[in-house]
């Protein structure tokens, strides 16, 4: 009898806990609808300043530095929009778990960083009602913001959320295009007797004998210096495939497995070449790529460390930082060769394999969403408006205070005071419109103009800002991802012989239901485009 009572009591406790959690977790959904419509009158300035809590990703900010910067910023914000800012400086490693828990727990946070690649997936949380839909609020509270960010990027931010198609977060105006480049070690190339400028301007052809010749010479050169474990081709295998085959990542591809390919024209990505979304591994291009990679691997140009998923990234980082590679792969960001050259102490050259292109990923790489539990969504949007249009706010949050973390130079650039900057380094790309920042002295005075020109020249892919909703193929997706995990990396890194492995792989993919996924993606794309 007593046992039963104890059981009941315990049960009541558990249920009580669950109920509390449930209420708080689901509180988000109804609040979202009501808050956007009812409380829009409360924006008049005057009265107590509103405290807005914002959660950033990838920060490296010490508590003292944070309070120092925010104290000064808050004075400014209070005058401008009668609000104060309270920042949670999320770090890379903790962000996913902490944010997901906080979202589910209905924490009192007004704005969250979100994107389409981490665990607080923008599209999914928009669907589940965690973000405030911004379409109606934007003209009133974010007019400048609407102007500041190009139409194409807003298009990318549109998603099918709980309240219909719309914008559920403010996209950051940062590196808004994708371009795959060969990362060439110019210093080593020159040592081999090549004319670096000539080789780089001509471009590299993965299938040419010149390419192989280069690798061979590098290997022999290093061996003659006593370095026998030198491997000239140090790549991210999955990036290599996209780079060589001119395929784009289909936004919304399976979590943890890129099985879909979209082929585009390498010189004019917007040109319609009649592409459909295809099974990445079933194309003749892929077979050719895998055969070539295997061949290069057999000749000793690719390290076994690259071919092991466990060591691949560490090996890549180690080789890059010590400059012990000849050719690598890099998803390009404007100006990164300068940073890399400085960091690695070699002449790093970026040789484009394709022209830069835009797709939905361009607008969803970094976004700021307003939480559905926020009591002041209008104020939050007013703040985001300022953050993206007011250089003072953006500079202060991103770079800190003048005289504390940086000094202004006469040519309009800034130089960091390293000692304090190391205690205040948020993730620059993770905030918003970084094009209103002052250039650093390393970047040079015209950096942001060139930056904008580069990205504005990028063409959109023919399928535009299409996002594949993979929730319709969840079961097949899980099965396919398992097969993928077993074979894909080995094939793309040249570890396994495609002659024997590729047919088995394709067969297993089909059995797991890859065709359903491809068909679903194409169906959604057709609907999206019509």
């Amino acid at each position: 009898m007593k046992k039963i009572v104890a059981l009941l009591l315990a049960l009541v406790m558990v249920l009580g806990l669950a109920a509390c959690g449930g209420q708080n977790a689901s509180a988000g959904t109804p609040a979202a609808g009501s808050s956007s419509s009812t409380s829009s009158g409360s924006t008049a300035s005057g009265g107590e300043p509103v405290t807005l809590k914002i959660w950033f990703h990838g920060s490296n900010v010490s508590p003292e530095a944070s309070s120092k910067v925010l104290d000064e910023l808050n004075v400014y914000l209070q005058n401008k929009i009668n609000a104060k800012l309270d920042v949670i400086w999320g770090t890379w490693g903790d962000f996913d778990q902490a944010v997901v828990t906080a979202l589910a727990g209905g924490d009192n946070v007004d704005m969250y960083f979100t994107c389409n690649w981490s665990a607080d997936e923008y599209n999914r949380y928009a669907r589940d009602g965690y973000w405030v839909k911004l379409d109606d609020l934007l003209p009133q509270y974010g007019a400048d913001l609407l102007q500041a960010i190009p139409e194409g990027i807003w298009e990318c931010a549109k998603t099918n959320g709980y309240d219909g198609m719309g914008i559920y977060a403010v996209p950051a105006l940062k590196d808004t295009a994708t371009q795959n480049c060969w990362d060439v070690n110019g210093t080593l190339l020159a040592a081999l007797g090549y004319n670096v400028d000539q080789v780089c301007s001509k471009g590299l052809d993965y299938y040419s004998s010149d390419f192989e010749e280069m690798l061979r010479k590098a290997k022999e050169y290093k061996a003659s210096q006593g370095e026998n474990d030198f491997y000239p081709l140090v790549v991210e295998p999955m990036v290599l495939e996209r780079l060589v085959n001119y395929t784009a990542i289909v936004t919304g591809d399976l979590p943890g497995a890129n099985v879909l390919s979209y082929y585009y024209d390498k010189d004019h990505p917007s040109k319609d070449i009649g592409s459909k979304i295809v099974n990445k591994f079933a194309s003749p291009e892929f077979a050719k790529f895998a055969a070539r990679t295997y061949e290069l691997s057999q000749k000793g140009f690719i390290s076994p460390s690259t071919q092991n998923t466990g060591t691949s990234n560490d090996y890549l980082t180690a080789c890059q930082s010590s400059g012990s590679y000849l050719i690598g792969t890099q998803s390009y960001a404007y100006g990164c060769e300068i940073d890399f050259s400085n960091a690695r102490g070699i002449d790093v050259r970026m040789v484009p394999a394709t022209a830069p292109y835009m797709d939905a990923t361009s607008g969803q790489g970094a976004m700021m969403a307003i939480s559905a539990v926020s009591k002041n969504p209008e104020k939050a949007l007013q703040f985001l408006n300022l953050l993206n249009t007011d250089p003072y706010v953006m500079t202060t949050l991103n770079y800190g205070l003048e005289g504390y973390t940086y000094n202004k130079n006469s040519d309009g650039t800034i130089s960091f005071i390293q000692e304090n900057r190391s205690n205040y380094s948020p993730w620059r790309n993770g905030m918003g419109n970084i094009r209103i920042l002052p250039p650093t002295s390393d970047e040079g005075a015209s950096y942001w103009t060139d930056f904008s020109n580069y990205y504005n020249s990028a063409e959109a892919l023919p399928y535009g800002a299409f996002i594949f909703d993979n929730s319709v193929v969840e079961t097949a997706g899980a099965a396919v991802a398992n097969v993928y995990a077993e074979y894909a990396f080995g094939l793309c890194s040249g570890a396994t012989d495609p002659n024997t492995v590729l047919p088995t792989f394709l067969q297993k993919l089909e059995a797991a239901g890859i065709n359903d996924i491809v068909n679903a993606a194409n169906k959604q794309m057709t609907e999206f485009l019509s």
Partner: protein, 303 residues
Amino acid sequence: MKSNHRLNTISAGTEAVFHVIIGLFSICCIIPFIFVIIISFSAESSIREIGYSFIPRAWSTETYAYAVQRLPQIWRSYFNSILITVVGTLLSTLMCALYSYALFRPDFKYRNFFTFFSFFTMIFGGGLVPTYVICTQVLGLNENYAALIVPLLVSPFNIIIMRTFFKSSVPLELIEAATIDGSGEYSTFFRVVLPIAKPGLATIALLNSLAYWNDWYQSLLFIKQNKVLQPLQALLMELQNNVEYLNRMSAALGSSAIQEAMRAPTQTLRMVLVVLIVVPIACAYPFFQRYIVAGLTVGSVKG
């Protein structure tokens, strides 16, 4: 006879074999730790060139100097870890002793009920989100030391161990005798029972202190802004997680990830932190060890 076998001994050959086996096992346990120490004293350039190695090309204490001088948070985290461990261990051991003592006393009417009550939580947990909501919103365990201590206060497993220990080592007659001599409940507990139960308490205290010292998860959940409160383990975990995350997400982040990774602490710095974390708890162990051996053997036949 000189080779007279003592009672309960085994032959010299067997003993040698056992010594070798146990010796090898000990070496397996200690080598990774020695390796970590070696790496922490390796020069960064050596790691870059030849990777982790027992014999690095160059030695260096630079990283230790860097950690000590340039990361003021390390000392604060050290303090936090020690504070949390000491306060947490004292409180949780006291709670455990009090709870299990009540369960051990046969004259406590609801002992079965409360035994089951604590046991139940071992099988069914509340789940992460409800626990988080209760802690932050109902109990106010957010951005403070209490958030790092309170969630780990009661462990049903320890309660069961302690109750069994009481049962096997504290004769009920002793309590009766104390009562007859005019001792009140508190006086009986603190002055008669606890001194007998020292080995058990020490075991529980060691388990608790290990749990507190090694815990980083509470900090991840509850310390998001006021990061000066981070214990050492959380600091290490954060650095480690950052590096892993950037590796994992490098495809999505592109060159951003590489730029960020360059700012991440070096591999030697991570090893230095491991050494700094392990040393104090390794020093605490011998202090408890005497009691633990006693705790393990008590309850068997007494000599």
